[in-house]
Amino acid sequence: MKLVRMKLFRMIVISAALLGLWQLIILISGVPYYILPTPFAVLLSLRDNYEILIDHAAITFFEIIMGMIIGSIFGCVSALILISFKSARQWLLPIFIISQAIPVFALAPLLVVWLGYGLSSKIAMASLIIYFPVTASFYDGLQQTRKGWLDLAFVMRAKKNTIIQYIQIPAALPALSSGLRVAAAVAPIGAIVGEWVGSSQGLGFLMLHANARMQIDLMFAALLLLAIFAVCFYFIIDKSLRYATAWHHIH
């Protein structure tokens, strides 16, 4: 409990220091308001544009969460297919690796053409961007199951699917967790880039829109909301993963 309070205390101090620094930079350099608004102006903008911001934020957050879910499911299923079937490994693994040479961002305009300006192209973008880290980390984890466990299972006359279910998947969870943490950090990027390329709603759209009208305080307010969400999202994912792999942390 004391540890948690210290952590919270440190976070408040760090945030306050950053805000102070921000204000200080404005005071010293005298940058004009339309380049860098003061923290207070951003707070005011948050209050004044509360409804718009919440509407757009809800869209973006939904895209991020859906992207995370869909990308993770596809990633996990792909890794399981790769580990279960030798022919899948031989045929699909090279394709999988080559496909990563294509920058996912470059696909964004294409996704908009194929899936439209709505939510689906952004969800697809977020899913695509996290698909690789999830698949790669889970597949690695599945592959690196300790031979001693597999030998033991063999001697116990285990079935192939129970080995995957009861030994390989749990053994790969710590590795999958690292992949999911990376995914939680990059999923918001996917959604925002998707919105920049073509959309009529979402925080990314709002930021571009505000930028074009020199509403720099609104832009910062949107950015702030996005940052807060991204941090909370990462935090929740990280905590749940730690809980799910608690055995990995006792020593």
């Binding site: 300790r146 001693g148 466990w149 030998d151 033991l152 299972a153 063999f154 001697v155 116990m156 006359r157 285990a158 079935k159 129970t162 080995i163 009861y166 030994i167 749990p170 053994a171 969870l173 792999t245 055995w247 990995h248 006792i250 020593h251």
Partner: protein, 245 residues
Amino acid sequence: MSIAPTIYIEKLQIKFDEIELFNDLTFTIQSGIWTCLLGQSGVGKSTILRAIAGINDGCEHMGDISFSSHNHHVAYMGQEAYLLPWLNILENVMLGSKLRRETADKQAALKMLHQVGLDDVSSLMPAQLSGGMRQRCALARTLLENQNVILMDEPFSALDAVSRHELQMLTYELLKNKTVLLVTHDPLEALRLGKIIYVLEGRPAKVMPPIEISEAAPRMIGDKIIDHYYPILMNKLVNAERISQ
């Protein structure tokens, strides 16, 4: 329970990356007793044991390993307990039935844990146990598998002296009348537990004529029997044909 089988190893050839570990190896592991297998590191002791267990290590295999009964199933204990860290002790003991999709006999598992002296820890996680306790858990898991052939690959070597001594006694008591093959580095361990002691030498490896001890095991350190056989066994080990690694 059926009678423990004899295991016949006939003309066994094993090649591993062009290295010929065995070429025409023939020997017998007798039914219902403890057989020990000693020899220099790398001579192929574990390889024989794994071949009997049917574990595929990606080596070339020829020759014949046969059992005198129709049941070819074995139980295996390694140097490490290989407990699954995400399952508690009781679940680890019952792992076999889970992997075969059979209903687990919880009462039997608890009884095994009691036999190995682990009554109070069934809900703990493996990481919370000492090395000796983990190996006891592995023993309980082996017992629950209820096989007549037990293959053991240095199961006591990582333990401290006291735990090792205790676990040797316990294991021997609990695995009486089974066909046991114990691979070990420790001549004293072989002399305490084995009825028949084989030494492997050279490459490709051959078995030297075995030492057979008729007096009942487990024998205590300081026993005349052990004092009598220790120099004989050491002499065999010293004179065994060495392999260069």
